[in-house]
């Protein structure tokens, strides 16, 4: 291993130990490690955006003036200049124009995407579970499939009920309130199951990273001991 590699390895080890200093509390070393992370990430991202986005997409077309692409590039140039005014308090309102344009574009993309990519397919999936082909085999009902279909429908509706915002009002009909509470409770069960799975997944990912870190540490120590 070259000295540079060793130096880089030591630097990485020191930085990772500084992060684990969080176990002793929010220490200065932990803060330094975090700010190093933020600084390097921000610097690298700045370079990438400048060299791989703005220069080829905004600056280079302008050099082909007076072609159509150059004229069209004036529009994002003007909007970008207006956007820079957001840094200045007195004239920050003018940056609302490019932000409004960006917001409108994102909203339109969101409407098309969410409806076609999530809401409709997921709802269709719930309904398609009740297809006769899936519920029967050679004319005989497949009870597990039927159970799963009903469970899915009830569960999805119950989960939607959990987050349904309804006015807190004293209902004259106590049965209705109890029924809604029961449905909401069922939804909470399914939400809890999902969150439990996510929790285990997060722990698994963290444990994998921890094992990899400890493994690297052990390998580093063995390297030093073994010469």
């Amino acid at each position: 291993m070259s000295s540079l590699d060793l130096l880089l390895l030591l630097a990485g080890l020191v930085l990772s130990l500084m992060v684990f200093g969080y176990l002793f509390g929010d220490t200065v070393l932990f803060g330094i490690a975090l700010y190093v992370l933020v600084g390097v990430t921000a610097g690298f991202t700045t370079l990438v955006l400048l060299q791989k986005v703005l220069i080829p997409m905004l600056i280079n077309p302008l050099t082909t003036f007076p072609e159509t692409s150059a004229l069209l590039a004036l529009v994002p140039l003007l909007l970008s200049l207006l956007l820079i005014f957001i840094l200045f308090k007195k004239s920050s309102k003018i940056s609302g124009i490019p932000l409004g344009f960006l917001g409108g574009v994102l909203a339109a993309a969101l409407i098309v995407g969410v409806s076609r990519g999530t809401v409709v397919p997921q709802l269709l999936s719930v309904i398609d579970a009740f297809e006769p082909d899936r519920l029967t085999t050679a004319g005989m009902p497949v009870w597990s499939a039927i159970f799963e279909a009903f469970m899915m429908l009830a569960g999805v509706l119950a989960v939607l009920f959990v987050f349904h915002h309804r006015r807190t009002q004293k209902t004259s009909d106590g049965n209705w309130g109890t029924w809604l509470g029961g449905v909401s409770g069922l939804g909470q069960v399914f939400v809890g199951i999902t969150f439990g799975a996510v929790f285990v997944g997060l722990f698994s990912t963290g444990l994998t990273a921890l094992i990899a870190y400890v493994q690297n540490l052990v390998d580093f120590v063995r390297l030093w001991i073994g010469g």
Binding site: S125, L202, L207, T208, L210
Partner: protein
């Protein structure tokens, strides 16, 4: 009274209340000492040790009623009330002879002693007299009320915003000035101005008479005597204890009923009523008399100043005198300000908030941080030691027997089915933190694809992937917008789109691609891809390599057929059908997972134990 001078204790439940509350905030009982004025010793109001003092003014009032033409002669009535001696005299002599001894003794005793029914009934003479007094009082009130109504109808109500006139003076100030115009020739005005502030606290008879006269429009000389009587009636009745049930009292004036030593204070209430009448939104029932009556008795500390402000001109001399000589014990309100009740309440609240500064007013809800840090450190140490133990002492790590989920099996099946006819698009979007979960899988997938001689095209929109893992072939600007633009756009007639100029190679990244493998540690990225790109490139079949944390949120997309397969985390490495070992040490993995299970169960047990202890304590209490 509580130790805090701004608070007092409810006699019913012991709750501490503000000094000026009418009812206890806990039990709702009416508080004693309803009407307090600053500068007055509350013990005078509370003590019943000297009922005679309380009664003396009343006796004066009632005695003065003798002269009133409205009232019948008390002596004759009193005699009538006491048993009709005139009528019974003849009969009594006969009856006396036949009366038993005990009755005789009672009569003798009654004649010798005072009336045992009490001072109050005696002084009140007969109920008829009392009724007549009440009627006279009602009559006076009615006249004053009519006067106020006339004033109100004459002058339009102004809103709070419109109260300032052209000179910038508020409306209430202007009215006070009108009521008490500056007139140095008027000896009564001079008297009012020249009074030292100590005396200003006490309204003189002349001042009250003058005020009432102005209010009622009665000429000075004609009815002065009558007014004197009426003022005496008013002041004596008003100086009675609050416990006396005089329902009209609150509606009449805004001076404390227990202001016995200064009955003259009734007069300034009337112009104040008119001034307050200009502020309708301050009054809940739009009755200025009621509002004033409620207002003044409840804020006695402001009452004095209000009265001074009402009677005196907002004169600099008197204002300065007021500021210099009056020493209100609690607040320092300028004497020439008329404060409404809600304003006083807000000032009181502000005072209490300032007094609480620096004090802890709520109990600590969380445990000390130090204890939490030690616990966290101990647990972390246990996990690190468990992992270290698994690595050092676990021996050669084997592949664990975790059950392989269906999406992972589907991913492997799809991967094996990819042929070399079309390129596969690999989309990178993960971070260095999750490389341990993803990179072993990616390396294995690339090895499988290489073995099948499949062409791969690696793209990324994440700057971090430029230096992490596999070097991408293209950097896509704009993240998901770039992928969307590449999916929906085509070359225009006028040349190239800006995005095309950002590519080093072919801008058509989806050209001839029928398989896309998303390598991402974020379920949000996969979801965005399925929403933005997949609808426009429906021919591309998508599968995902992700982390364990993202898997649950992507399962619905697998169930709906939008994803061909999902392989999540290094724990599903076995799903790829490889005989090689996983990247992570399985003993360390199992030790860590087992420790987490134990900790979770321990947390439940601790909660159960805590609940049981609390229930035991509650039962023992």
């Amino acid at each position: 009274m509580s130790d805090n001078p701004d608070l007092r204790i409810c006699p019913n439940c012991g709750q501490e209340n503000s000094l000026y509350t009418l009812r206890c905030i806990r039990c709702g009982e009416e508080m004693e000492e309803l009407f307090q004025l600053e500068g007055f010793d509350p013990s005078e109001q509370l003590s019943n040790d000297s009922p005679q003092e309380d009664q003396a003014p009343l006796s004066e009032v009632l005695a003065s009623l003798d002269d009133s033409p409205l009232l019948a002669e008390p002596v004759e009535n009193h005699v009538d009330e006491n048993g009709g001696d005139h009528a019974g005299d003849d009969q009594s002599s006969v009856v006396e002879k036949e009366l038993p001894d005990w009755l005789e003794r009672v009569r003798q005793r009654a004649q010798e002693e005072e009336d045992a029914s009490g001072e109050l009934s005696k002084l009140g003479h007969t109920s008829k007299e009392r009724r007549q007094v009440d009627e006279a009082f009602d009559d006076i009130l009615r006249r004053i009320r009519e006067q106020n109504e006339r004033e109100k109808t004459r002058k339009p109500r102004t809103t709070e915003q419109g109260m300032v006139d052209e000179k910038g003076d508020p409306e209430w100030l202007r009215r006070i000035r009108e009521l008490h115009p500056k007139n140095e020739e008027d000896p009564r005005e001079t008297t009012l101005k020249g009074l030292p502030l100590e005396d200003d606290d006490a309204w003189t008879k002349e001042e009250l008479q003058e005020l009432l006269r102005r209010e009622m429009g009665i000429s000075e000389h004609a009815d002065q005597a009558a007014e004197d009587e009426k003022f005496e009636e008013i002041e004596t009745i008003d100086s009675a204890e609050p416990s006396i049930d005089l329902p009209f009292q609150e509606n009449f004036h805004n001076i404390a009923d227990d202001d016995q030593d200064e009955p003259q204070e009734e007069e300034p209430a009337e112009p104040e009523e008119e001034a307050n009448a200009e502020e309708p939104e301050s009054f809940p029932d739009n009755d200025p008399e009621t509002e004033n009556a409620i207002d003044e008795p409840e804020e006695p500390d402001g009452g004095l100043q209000d009265q001074e402000g009402a009677v005196e001109q907002p004169d600099e001399e008197t204002a300065e005198e007021a500021e210099s000589e009056i020493t209100p014990p609690v607040d320092k309100v300028l004497p020439d300000l008329l404060l409404l009740r809600n304003q006083r309440e807000r000032a009181q609240v502000l005072r209490e908030v300032i007094a609480q500064e620096g004090q802890r007013t709520i109990t600590l809800l969380h445990e000390p941080a130090r204890q939490g840090k030690i616990g966290r450190f101990v647990l972390a140490l246990m996990l690190i030691l468990a992992v270290l133990g698994g690595i050092l002492f676990g021996g050669e790590a084997g592949i664990a027997n975790q059950p392989i989920p269906a999406p992972a099996l589907a991913f492997e099946e799809n991967l094996r089915s990819i042929t070399s006819t079309h390129p596969v698009l690999l989309v990178l979007d993960y971070h260095a933190a999750t490389r341990g979960d993803i990179e072993p899988l990616v390396q294995e997938i690339l090895a499988i694809l290489d073995s099948n001689r499949v062409t791969t095209r690696i793209v990324t929109a994440n700057p971090e992937n430029l230096w992490l893992g596999e070097t991408p072939d293209e950097f896509i600007p704009g993240d998901m917008l770039g992928y969307l633009s590449a999916a929906v756009s085509s070359d225009p007639a006028w040349g190239q789109l800006p995005l095309a100029q950002g590519f080093s190679g072919d801008a058509k990244i989806y050209h001839e691609v029928d398989q896309a493998i998303l390598i991402s540690d974020s379920s949000e990225f996969v979801r965005a891809w399925l929403e933005q790109v997949s609808p426009w490139q429906s021919g591309i079949q998508t599968s995902v390599v992700t982390t364990s944390v993202s898997e649950p949120m992507l399962l619905p997309y697998f169930e709906s057929g939008q994803l061909r397969g999902i392989i999540a985390g290094a724990s599903q490495f076995r799903a790829l059908g490889t005989t090689q070992q996983g990247s992570i040490n399985q003993y360390a993995w199992q030790a860590g997972t087992l420790l987490m299970m134990i900790v979770l169960i321990l947390g439940m047990i601790m909660k159960v134990d805590e609940d049981r202890q609390r229930r035991t304590e509650e039962r023992s209490q």
